[in-house]
């Protein structure tokens, strides 16, 4: 068991959570229950790492084990660290610049990603053992992507104002005409 745990730690996945038990603010009754729960899970993972031919399968298995452990250990803390959501939102902050509602939807998504990031990082550092080690890099990459997306949106909006957006007020009359025509057609 000890050698298996060392191997896991070298690979970046730590299975035994005695350190994290100290960090988690949980009553002592729960920790006793956890120790009884942990034993079968670790034995399963040790059996899995015995034939370490397919590493992706083992990592997925360990992630599932970690998820189960997180559910068992702390029922009051959210198990997912929002890393995938932050990465996706950070990337969408640029791409939504090109789609529906440019200069509006993208920066909003980026702001959501930036606002989600600190709590996710704090949750990761509260008990880093039960989360995937890649999730922290995901969060940080998503945050930088969101910052870049927002800044690109603001810069392009300024350039649009400088370049041709100053004619916007000329076009407002035309827009009002179309709007009034549509309004009249509806019969109001």
């Amino acid at each position: 068991m000890d050698t298996n745990n060392k191997n896991l730690n070298q690979r970046g996945f730590s299975e035994e959570n005695e350190q994290s038990d100290e960090l988690i603010p949980s009553p002592s009754i729960q920790s006793k229950q956890q120790s009884s729960f942990q034993a079968p899970v670790t034995s399963q993972s040790a059996g899995y790492t015995g034939n370490s031919s397919n590493t992706s399968d083992t990592s997925n298995q360990q992630y599932n084990n970690n998820k189960q452990q997180s559910h068992r250990q702390n029922q009051f803390i959210v198990s997912s660290p929002n890393s995938g959501a932050i990465l996706t939102l950070g990337i969408l902050s640029l791409v939504m610049l090109c789609c529906c509602g440019p200069f509006l939807v993208g920066p909003v998504l980026g702001i959501i990603a930036i606002a989600l990031a600190p709590s996710a990082i704090r949750k990761y550092y509260e008990n880093p053992d039960i989360y995937k080690p890649g999730s922290l890099s995901n969060i940080k990459a998503g945050r930088t992507c969101a910052i870049i997306g927002i800044s690109i949106g603001v810069i392009l909006f300024m350039f649009w104002l400088l370049g041709s957006g100053l004619n916007f007020f000329d076009n407002i009359d035309q827009f009002e005409k179309i709007y009034k025509e549509a309004w009249d057609e509806m019969g109001y």
Binding site: S56, S59, Y63, G84, L87, T88, G90, I91, L94, V95, L97, C98, C99, C100, G101, P102, F103, K132, G134, S137, N138, K140, A141, G142, T144, C145, I148, G149, I152, I155, L156, F159, W160, G163, S164, G165, N167, F168, N171, Q174, F175
Partner: protein, 95 residues
């Protein structure tokens, strides 16, 4: 199907409102050209479409399989896309 889509494309609300191109104008035309198989014309319509598709594919693969340096690769792809979109938009605005 593609011809029907080419005649009935989704209009850009920004362009309807202001009369100017938005940073994503041309993407639908480029997507239709790409689905027809014409990569060069797709690139000429909207150069950032193919890197965006690659980035989204890599994002889903990364979220599914958790590559080791996947986040860093995604970040560099994102920077490349940002440069391409902004250069394309500034070129469309001023030339």
């Amino acid at each position: 199907m593609l011809d029907f889509w080419g005649k009935h494309m989704i209009p850009c609300p920004f362009k309807l409102l202001t009369g100017h191109d938005c940073p994503g104008c041309g993407m639908q035309r480029a997507l239709i050209e790409l689905l027809k198989g014409d990569i060069k014309s797709s690139f000429l319509h909207y150069p950032a479409l193919i890197p965006i598709i690659i980035m989204f594919g890599f994002l889903f693969l990364h979220l599914k399989f958790n590559f080791k340096h996947g986040a860093q690769i995604l970040k560099y792809l994102f920077i490349l896309n940002a440069i391409m979109i902004s250069v394309n938009y500034l070129y469309k605005l001023f030339f």
